[in-house]
């Protein structure tokens, strides 16, 4: 796979942070905890390196497949960030309205 460097058991991917948000990268890394331990480090002003140490059965299977899945998930996380930015105020309004006349909301 292009963009992946390998040193021993470690695989490293460099991501441009002007394309992918750090939150999206971190959330993706968190999701892959069952497949690899993931270390994030700054690589340059606009880049972060993602180092994968594969664990369990994934150490013996196809690491590049897991990294490919990681990249796809990263695109999903990026899209989720867009939705979240646009809809969080509306979600808050819905929740505030939904619970406005219950004892779950303290009166000022």
């Amino acid at each position: 796979m292009n963009g992946i460097s390998r040193a021993g058991d470690e695989h490293c991917l460099v991501l441009n942070t002007s394309i992918y948000g750090l939150d999206a990268i971190k959330k993706t890394a968190y999701r892959f905890a069952d497949k690899a331990s993931v270390i994030l480090q700054p690589a340059s002003e606009n880049a972060v390196s993602v180092t994968f140490n594969f664990v369990g059965k994934h150490a013996a299977t196809n690491p590049e497949q897991v990294i490919g899945d990681f990249c796809n998930e990263l695109l999903d996380q990026d899209l989720r960030e867009i939705i979240k930015r646009e809809t969080t105020p509306v979600r808050n309004i819905i929740l505030a309205h939904a619970f406005s006349r219950t004892s779950l909301v303290e009166q000022e």
């Binding site: 989720r80 939705i83 969080t88 979600r91 819905i94 309205h97 619970f99």
Partner: protein
Amino acid sequence: MASVFEEAVAYLPKDSSYKLLPFRFIRLDPARYVAVNEVGEWQTLARAELDMLVHKTLPPENPLYLSLKSKHFLEDQDSDVAIDLLTLKRRTKQARIPQFTGLHMFVVTLRCNHSCRYCQVSRQSEDRSAFDMTIPMADKGLDFTFQSPSRAIKIEFQGGEPLLNFDLIKYIVLEAKKRNKTENRKLAFVIATNLSVLSDEILDFCRTHKVMLSTSLDGPEDLHNANRPNVGNNSYQITIDGINKARGALGVDQLSALMTTTSLSLPRVTDIIDEYLRQGFRGIFLRNLSPYGFAIKTKVFDGYSSDEWLNFYRTGLDYILELNKQGLRLTEFFTGLVLGKMLTPYGTGFVNLQSPAGLGISAVIFNYNGEVYPSDEARMKAEMGDKVFCMGNLLTNTYEEMMLSTALLDPLSDSISETVPMCEECAFLPYCGADPDYHYATQGDFVGHKALSGFCRKNMEVFRYIIKKMEDDPEARAILESWVRW
């Protein structure tokens, strides 16, 4: 003849801009995503369609646009009711919370005459009266029960084998009915029993006072006897005889059965379902083992993985749907509970499909020694020596002290899925719930890392499977829709 109506295009919004409303999405399979809105309505779509939706390039004349608009995924200048409707539905989903604690379980004894492989409480021999609940404790338990704000109260008798302390069951039923003359709650009783000591006297009492029975049936004779041995006796035959006797005395609808999946059950799901049909049941709950009590101690819990249970569940659900297509009427209850969350604006009382978790909110359990726990699983854990969920003791603590105890409130506040990493962005959040018991048992904290969670893996795959059935098989969809109860 001139048309009364304009062409369809005339009714499209004049301005093609729209706003997104809150939703989450996840991959359904390699070809599709599923987007789920704040109240559980879903839409499957291709990745390209998802991108068009989010980047506001979906044209109003696209059928997907109208579907997404009708399900409140987007709002355009034509409609301004979406937020009000979403609010109403969201509020309805949580309507159970102010009516908390409908189920109160009394462990009237820990004594039991069975030695089940997965039994989740320490078994004691039948002559150990030290493991019976006392009348003063039962009175305190009833004091607690009637302080619940719930209009409907169910009292369930648990064990051990609760019928080994039938005198106390009688006392509690009569005393609860007496108190209810002024409380006016909708009161119900159920005894969870292996039916082995069922007598005419017990059945007469149950009939007179409308006490239901719930028993365990793990499958055909060989499997049931292997899972639930009763030394020197045929446990299966005792159960079947008890089922027939109870139905004869109380009526068919007054007895239900539950099964538990062990490693021995995994290759036998169709046999188990056939056994339920043979015994006249019209529903089955394909229930997985919980990582508590003896199931851990005897390594039974380690007997299979979430994926193995999922294969068991999928094969079972396919078989049940096929039977329904052939004209038989049989429901899989867990699927029915999930469908209720998917297809109605209502929540569920099922403890592990709620956020916050149903601990204490749906149920509490009074142990034989007066200790109070927010779930049966928490009491099982206590029997293994870990009392982290113990809310207090009926004899020494007040209702307020126990319901406001950190043993209850900490796992509740930690388990609100909307605040949990991975859950908060998961499309299946409206269908799922939290299980602090499970995550404490398997990962040592109430929340757990969901990437490593068997609970998460199991639920997500069940949701995916149900949605795919609904989307891809119209006949299955009609059957599944008929399972929804509220």
